[in-house]
């Protein structure tokens, strides 16, 4: 009874529990900083006071926007070739055998660590940073697209073939939608890696961007700015996640598992 009620409550305001969680976390931060006096940690309120300085700073805002633009470009480019490649790998054993070892070798290598090398070849401009992000996000997308394509019911493809659908058409019209939930799992890991790559590559390149602001402030011992920048980046991560979640539930609502309580019988 009460569960049903709380479920409808949650349905009315799906954003409420995460919002409360945010408040609780900030409160915990404030209390920890004020009363436990963890070494050198400014409290939440003074960090918030620092925010206008960043958000009001045209230059800083521009840099953050540029970071996001590069991330978007890198992500888009990666999607463009990773999804078809992954799907193809999932449906063709030969392609999979051909490409998989290379991917497995490349997966654990931090792509941001290639930044010094790539900068040597492409310079310090946007091209290098975008390429690094492409490298960073493409592997999980390829990997999960492949997993998704593998799990497609063979009979679906047989019936499509019987209807006279060509190979590429089957890939686009049967395999792609069927694998979509799994592809989106890959995209989610991709977003996490894109943010990691973006921040560290900017930190390594030390030119512009959110990562640069963060580590400059650290070098100059502007600790409030460090924390304020962490807040900004965290907010970016959360906002991207919310957007992504919207997109996902819109695209794959049909595959949603019916939520059921794990333990308690009704």
């Amino acid at each position: 009874m009460s569960r049903a009620a709380s479920r409808t409550g949650a349905a009315l305001r799906p954003g409420l529990p995460p919002f409360l969680a945010c408040l609780a976390l900030l409160l915990a931060w404030q209390i920890a900083a004020r009363f436990l006096a963890v070494g050198g940690v400014p409290d939440a309120l003074s960090t918030f006071r620092e925010l206008p300085a960043i958000i009001g700073d045209r230059e800083a805002l521009g840099e953050i926007a540029a970071s996001l633009r590069r991330m978007g470009a890198g992500f888009g480019l990666a999607l463009l070739f990773s999804v078809p490649l992954g799907l193809l790998m999932g449906r063709s054993r030969l392609v999979s055998a051909l490409v998989n070892p290379l991917l497995m070798v490349g997966y654990p290598v931090p792509k941001a660590a290639l930044m010094p090398l790539i900068m040597l070849w492409l310079g310090v401009g946007d091209a290098a940073k975008i390429l690094v992000i492409v490298l960073g996000v493409s592997l999980p997308i390829i990997y999960h697209s492949r997993q998704g394509a593998r799990a497609v019911e063979e009979k679906l493809l047989w019936s499509a073939a019987a209807m006279g659908m060509s190979g590429p058409a089957r890939l686009a019209r049967i395999v792609l939608p069927a694998a979509l939930p799994e592809i989106l799992v890959g995209c989610r890991t991709g977003i996490v890696l894109a943010l990691i790559t973006m921040i560290t590559s900017e930190m390594i390149a030390r030119q512009t961007g959110a990562g640069n602001i963060l580590f400059n402030a650290l070098d100059m011992a502007q600790y409030e700015t460090v924390y304020a920048m962490i807040l900004v980046v965290s907010a970016l991560g959360i906002a991207l996640d919310v957007l992504f979640e919207r997109l996902r539930s819109g695209l794959t609502g049909w595959a949603e598992p019916i939520p059921s309580p794990a333990i308690a019988p009704a």
Binding site: R3, P17, P18, A21, C22, A24, L25, V38, G39, G40, V41, R93, L94, A97, L98, V99, N100, P101, L102, M104, V105, G106, Y107, P108, V109, P110, A112, A113, L114, P116, L117, L120, W121, Q147, T189, I191, V192, L193, L195, I196, I199, T200, L214, F215, A217, L218, Y223, V226, M229, I230, V233, G237, I238, D241, P257, P259, S260, A262, I263, P265
Partner: protein, 256 residues
């Protein structure tokens, strides 16, 4: 017949890697890229082999492995504790879910400066960073898996006399194990990546530090060695996880 086809498939996979190395060599021999910017594959291989006998290099490798292992173990311990709390108490579950939902998408590397400020430049901030980054993929997969446990499995166990608390250990955990292992696999890759990056940012040892040091000295050959090493570490750990999966999940469909 099968085995032959299998090993042929394995060999096919070497072709792109060989092609890449070949193209790399061609770039150099044709003189399109100066060898100061890009060392030859032969030189990189020779240096890597030489490094394996170098105690200093092995020390750096050990530092990285230690941070990786410690961080991953902490992450697993937290997953276990939070999973148990969420499975036994509705209130804990209701409180944890939104907190996890909020914390999961934060790029943990951004917290690294704060960790350094509070914990110093030692192992601690790197281990915590690895733990924080490894935690969420496993946790999200675990929650997803536990939520999807077939209800009739729980009912079957309850009817056979298992207590409600007992089903957590006897049904929910084994039924969730595939998800936990899948999450661990993603977490492992992310952990390899962040431990390396953290060492690049501030460190006096570890594979990431080796890369930065070689870069500063413009020794491009040496820059490739830690990259190859972290790739090998990731591959080996992934292989170990896959083996564990085969043993633990004999009754479940294969993933690979």
């Amino acid at each position: 017949m099968r085995a032959v086809a299998g090993s042929l498939h394995g060999l096919v996979g070497l072709a792109p890697i060989a092609g890449l190395v070949l193209a790399w060599q061609v770039l150099l021999t044709a003189g399109w890229v100066p060898s100061a910017l890009l060392p030859s594959p032969g030189a990189v291989l020779a240096r890597t082999v030489a490094s394996l006998g170098d105690p200093a290099f092995l020390g750096h490798l050990a530092s990285t492995l230690y941070r990786l292992a410690a961080g991953f173990a902490i992450a697993l311990a937290i997953v276990f504790a939070l999973g148990l709390a969420g499975a036994t108490s509705r209130i804990a579950d209701a409180a944890l879910r939104p907190v996890i939902r909020v914390l999961a998408p934060i790029p943990k590397i951004a917290l690294y400066p704060a960790l350094i400020l509070s914990l110093g430049f030692d192992d601690a901030p790197k281990i915590i960073l690895v733990a924080a980054d490894a935690l969420f993929p496993i946790l999200l997969a675990t929650y997803g898996g536990a939520g999807a446990v077939e209800q009739k499995l729980l009912w079957s166990a309850r009817a056979a006399g298992t207590s409600r608390a007992g089903t957590i250990l006897k049904v929910v955990l084994p039924a969730t194990l595939p998800s936990i292992l899948t999450g661990s696999r993603i977490a492992l890759v992310v952990a390899c990546i962040v431990v390396f990056l953290a060492e690049m940012i501030t460190s006096t040892d570890g594979l990431g530090y080796l890369l930065v040091r070689s870069g500063r000295a413009f020794q491009t050959v040496d820059m490739f060695v830690p990259l190859l090493a972290i790739s090998a570490v990731g591959l080996a750990l992934d292989g170990a996880l896959a083996a564990a999966r085969r043993v633990l999940l004999r009754g479940f469909p294969e993933e690979e």
